[in-house]
Symmetry: C2
Subunit: 301 residues, 2 copies
């Protein structure tokens, strides 16, 4: 989990062991900022010569969401500067770790230090999560946890920052620890009325036949817009599938062929049990999971 | 707002211009940690010789609440080490800024860096807020904002971290910006049903006759336990007042002699208007405000 490469906005590449944040930065004292996580991977450009290039997956969409988050927080966002930082960082990783095919990039923007009127920005590249192969292969056990809000808590309340990917993720982290303490891999947030929301760092998708469903964002429930689900739904639609962003209940996941948590780091992971009860494992579900992995360029297991 | 003194847990005093936090510290990437803010002030020990000492106001109570927060997050808390850091920090400020009578101390504990299993801790001393005198003298305009939750959203849901003073304050900061955009000084959170909760960085107290009321914490509404209100209620009770921690509605603040926001930084501030409507300004209210300032050792204006 060490930092493999580090770049600071306005400074460029710095030694990964450098402390780069001041004690009064509002990113740390108030969790006041936003972030993006994306996958970087080495892809062949010429099979014959073995040359490769580095792909920053869905970079434009991630920068667009980061701009949206920064706008929601009233923090300036210089897209060109961030794009430059990302490419520098990807090159630094590619040169320094030639044996590694895939890694995790994180981009962080904070309001900066009080009185300076200048945001703090940096990006890191780290190893992918250690348990990624097991989760892809075996699926995951998930528990539902209340988010304490309802389907319209965030309507007309922009200060609650619905849909803004802020640095204030402490409840998401606590929910993951609660899930672990119950013997599960992940949590899935639900409203106080039991409607599906999202996982702490992933979105929920479920398939029935050739129809994919997810929970709609931007409708007052506060959940994030998922870039990986966007890609999934776009490519699925191109492949003739029906895709629906709407409303869901916990029972819907039991009735589906397969239910998944989807994130840019892990891709689609099958939920094999929910609140201790196994979810159906059918050939149709296995086919849908495989299709979702193809649509999002993730390996099958 | 510059840092006047800085100390790092396990290292002691460092130059205030030092960057002390790494890019992957979970305090910044996830807002995963907790904090305390307290007042440090110079108090005379001998009027004749003019000698003074530095008081860290309610330090024991702040360290107790920080231990509670750390416990809620599952982060280790070494009270003796923190007490040592606080005293070093107070001395550093007192020696470096002999002309300053009062300052703001902040203590921050994060989960640290992934894989290191070692929390990050540091403390800062900064100037008190610039507008403190105006707010004490003139009172403040406040707007109510929904917190998106209800009075029992946090019951039986420890992962929502009710009562834990975490670093994930981005919504509190956004609420303060929303208040400012409406021409007010501060926000006051209410439930989706309009029950009173707390302000982003203060608690609400209202007085009718010789009765003080506040919103009860630890009852499922998620609000923080206020150390300054504790002190206020303890001393008020000793002075023969009745104190009630319970439930309140917005209308109650209009019916009271005086309504206040109370914090360790500002002490009791009179709410002079709520959602654009003036609150009553009566001699009884002025007397209650003055009493609350005496009980908490804050200047009258």
């Amino acid at each position: 989990m060490a930092i493999l490469a580090l770049a600071v906005l306005g400074h460029g590449i710095v030694d990964p062991s450098t402390a780069v944040i001041h004690a009064d930065d509002l990113g740390v004292t108030r969790g006041d900022g936003c972030f993006e996580g994306l996958r970087v991977r080495r892809v062949p450009t010429n099979e014959a010569t073995g040359t490769t290039t580095v792909e920053t997956v869905d970079l434009t969409a991630h920068l667009r969401r980061m701009a949206h988050s920064a706008d929601g927080l009233g923090i300036g966002f210089d897209e060109a500067a961030w794009r430059h930082l990302v490419l520098e960082l990807a090159d630094e990783w590619a040169a320094g770790y030639p044996g590694q095919d895939e890694a995790a990039m994180k981009l962080v923007l904070t309001r900066g230090r009080p009185g300076l009127e200048q945001p703090t920005g940096f990006g890191t590249v780290s190893d992918p999560p250690a348990d990624i192969d097991t989760r892809r292969q075996d699926g995951i056990d998930v528990v539902t946890l209340s988010r304490g809000t309802s389907d319209d808590s965030f309507s007309d309340a922009p200060w609650l920052l619905g849909g803004v990917k802020t640095l204030s993720y402490v409840i998401n982290m606590a929910a993951q620890r609660e899930a672990a303490s119950r013997g599960a891999h992940e949590a899935l947030f639900v409203t106080v009325d039991g409607s599906l929301l999202e996982a702490p760092t992933a979105s929920v998708v479920w398939a029935s036949g050739r129809t994919l469903r997810t929970v709609a964002d931007g409708v007052g429930n506060g959940i994030l817009h998922s870039i990986t689900v966007d890609t999934l739904f776009k490519r699925a639609a191109e492949g003739g599938w029906t895709t629906i962003s709407g409303h869901g209940q916990v029972e819907d996941l039991f009735d589906a062929d397969v239910a998944m948590l989807v994130s840019s780091g892990f891709g689609p992971l099958r939920i094999r049990s929910l609140d201790g009860k196994p979810l159906p494992a059918t050939p149709a579900g296995a086919e849908s999971l495989a299709a979702c992995r193809r649509f999002t360029d993730f390996p099958q297991a």
